[in-house]
Symmetry: C2
Subunit: 418 residues, 2 copies
């Protein structure tokens, strides 16, 4: 075995960093509130910049505030292997979502420093701006702009609930960088993240080797029935918008199960207009989504719900408007990167499974313009975006070790056989 096979990250140091940075925006219930580009985000960014510089990296910032910490490699003509995630959180978020992947990337660099290892290809830790999307829409805006989905000017003009633009928020914390978004090229990107779902825990696996990211269709819906007196309107004469929605909700559920196990469908929001205890709901709005790792399945789900909705609206004499507002095709992560993660995991002896990412991640956006893949570790009860979000030190360590060995393999070590 070569010396790099035995290498392990410094588990207490990573765990310490996770808890150290959790102070920036700590909530009373043990979570983190660190909205992108706010004062707590500035605190963690400053901490991160200092830590990266202490680890020998040079930190660059692009025009959307994304931070790139470069560690030189033997062959500076090669584009770096990127590793990282994001440091912003949901309004009542946890200590691990995004943070684990970013701080594990830092820990990988420190481990290489301690071992005196120089990689062939340079490495670059990335902290992507606004992954969460809680303060500014859309989520993952910096990586999407990097991948060419939006222009920098468009995204800089997006406003938060108080009317503050991204540009103004960047300037306020001093993180509007000079570097054009997308200019810095990578040889690929690897992101470690908590699963945010229950599968690894349920199956007692330490590592998820993420080979797919679900495609998503988002819909906005409006149901127009007729609001009338709950006491005087006989059942057969009703045009009850809530009863119609109930059938839509169950149709969404039925379709997702039909195309399971990986397809999911959800009605997340439903608002009755002018609700009253003794009035039949006449008007309501709702949002709906389907996700699947297969584009063909997304088509079937889309067709299925259209059919169900027309049947429901005709039978109930209500109108149901269903507008598709967004469709994102499934992500098929780079096969070589995925295999490399699997190989590293197997060599390290961790129990693992291939897994589909149900949530969106920066790596999904990046996969469109470079080879990318992800490593998942379990989180307690599958809970994230919640102050209860939790992960074990052992699992975080394992994930960081897989990240280390994946990066070593991808970047190559001077003198070691590839």
């Amino acid at each position: 075995m070569s010396r790099k096979t035995n290498l392990e990250i410094n588990a207490p140091r990573l765990w310490g960093d996770i808890h150290e940075t959790a102070k920036f925006g700590a909530t009373p219930k043990g979570g983190v509130k660190r909205l992108t580009l706010g004062p707590e985000d500035k605190q963690v960014r400053d901490w991160f910049r200092t830590a990266c510089e202490k680890a020998g990296c040079t930190v660059y910032v692009d025009a959307l505030g994304t931070m790139f910490a470069m560690r030189p490699g033997r062959d500076m003509s090669k584009p770096p292997i990127g590793l990282g995630s994001h440091l912003d959180t949901q309004p009542t978020g946890g200590k691990f979502d995004g943070i684990l992947g970013t701080l594990a990337a830092l820990e990988v660099i420190r481990t290489l420093n301690d071992a005196g290892i120089e990689t062939d290809t340079p490495l670059c830790i990335v902290n992507w701006t606004n992954e969460e999307g809680s303060r500014f829409a859309p989520a993952m805006m910096a990586s999407a702009t990097y991948a060419g989905e939006y222009t920098t000017a468009d995204v800089q003009s997006r406003r938060d609930a108080d009317g503050i633009t991204v540009a103004k928020a960047l300037d306020k914390i001093g993180y509007r960088g000079e570097e054009p978004v997308g200019q810095r090229k990578f040889g690929g990107f690897v992101e470690l993240h908590i699963e945010q779902g229950p599968l690894l825990e349920a199956e007692n696996k330490t590592i998820g080797v993420v080979d797919l990211g679900q495609g998503i269709i988002w819909y906005d819906g409006v149901i127009t029935g007729f609001a009338s007196h709950a006491g005087t309107t006989p059942m057969p004469l009703r045009k009850d918008a809530l009863a119609a929605l109930s059938e839509v909700v169950l149709a969404v559920e039925g379709l997702a199960k039909k195309y399971g196990p990986e397809a999911v469908g959800t009605v997340g929001e439903a608002i009755i207009v002018n609700p009253s205890r003794n009035v039949i709901p006449g008007d309501l709005t709702f949002t709906m989504e389907f996700r699947s790792p297969s584009s063909a399945t997304l088509d079937l789900l889309h067709g299925g719900i259209q059919k169900a909705v027309s049947e429901i609206s005709a039978r109930r004499h209500v109108t149901v408007e269903l507008v598709q507002i967004w469709r994102k095709e499934p992500t098929v992560f780079d096969r070589n990167f995925v295999d490399t993660i699997e190989e590293s995991t197997r060599k390290l002896g961790y129990a693992y499974r291939r897994i589909t990412s149900g949530a969106g991640h920066d790596a999904c956006n990046l996969n469109a313009v470079m080879p990318a893949a992800m490593i998942f570790v379990p989180c307690k009860d599958g809970i994230s975006h919640n102050e209860l979000e939790d992960a074990t030190q052992a699992d975080c360590t394992a994930g960081a070790n897989v990240l280390l060995h994946t990066v070593l393999k991808l970047a190559g070590v001077a003198g070691d056989p590839a």
Copy 2:
């Protein structure tokens, strides 16, 4: 035929009064906003008092502002026959709900005056305070207090959204009377009202002879599932509160249809706690009601939904709390009064049907302490509590004529055979 059989009310005069009083609180869309005990209610009350006095009545006011306009009869030892309804409206109400019954009662008196008819039993027009319940809860508070359901002091202390008590509101418009609530006894009460439902119009009937008032059960519900990520939580592991509610809504509908045609069931309000497009609804609150003219059917509906809810909550691993917050037994209107209305309708040659009142009315409260019954006339598309509320002059006239002849029969005319 005796001279009273031919008697008809003055249709243009009644129609004129309806449109005259609609000016007090007129809305731009042709409706009326006349919240109980507000300035517009004072205007219509003053108008009504003057009109009743001009018609030879003496007007008394009780401690909750209910107005009693007494027309003497031949035998003043007998308690009067009451006739009337209410002059307050919903915030965006119409010109007919309550108003038709009150102004038709005035028209009946004027018609008797014009014909020089003295009844054996005195007559008393009543304008009940706060039937609508929009400004102060509960609805129908004055007739309920009259019938002994509440104390006057309790109701006088109820507050509107601005914190103003009923007592203060009464004083402000000068309608807190001296007369104790419930002191004035009646031989019975007849109330003319628009149907507020679609049946008469659908069946082309002019008159509804109301023999029953639906009983009501109101429930408050809470569903506790688990809010989790819409992308990462597989369908079988979800605890989706909205999907559970959907089954509850359809169970309510199914039960009401099963015990139809007169039973109805409605989920009127449903609020997801912290809704988000990509979060499975974890918690929601809702309200639910059943109505039926049969107490036994109410029991079956109650039992049926309990059973459905336990099945749904067990299968979906969510908790559903369903708390019965109110039960009002069905109203069985006085058989003699109902028969008298039917007989008058038949003699006048109007198409009619027996009908159940789906809405609550002051007459339902009064039926507990005196013989009472109601006359319905159609309203356009069954719409009420809406500025679009409408009724034809012909139907309003027909209803007032039925009221006239019913009252003549119940009160007796000096010299005519009973």
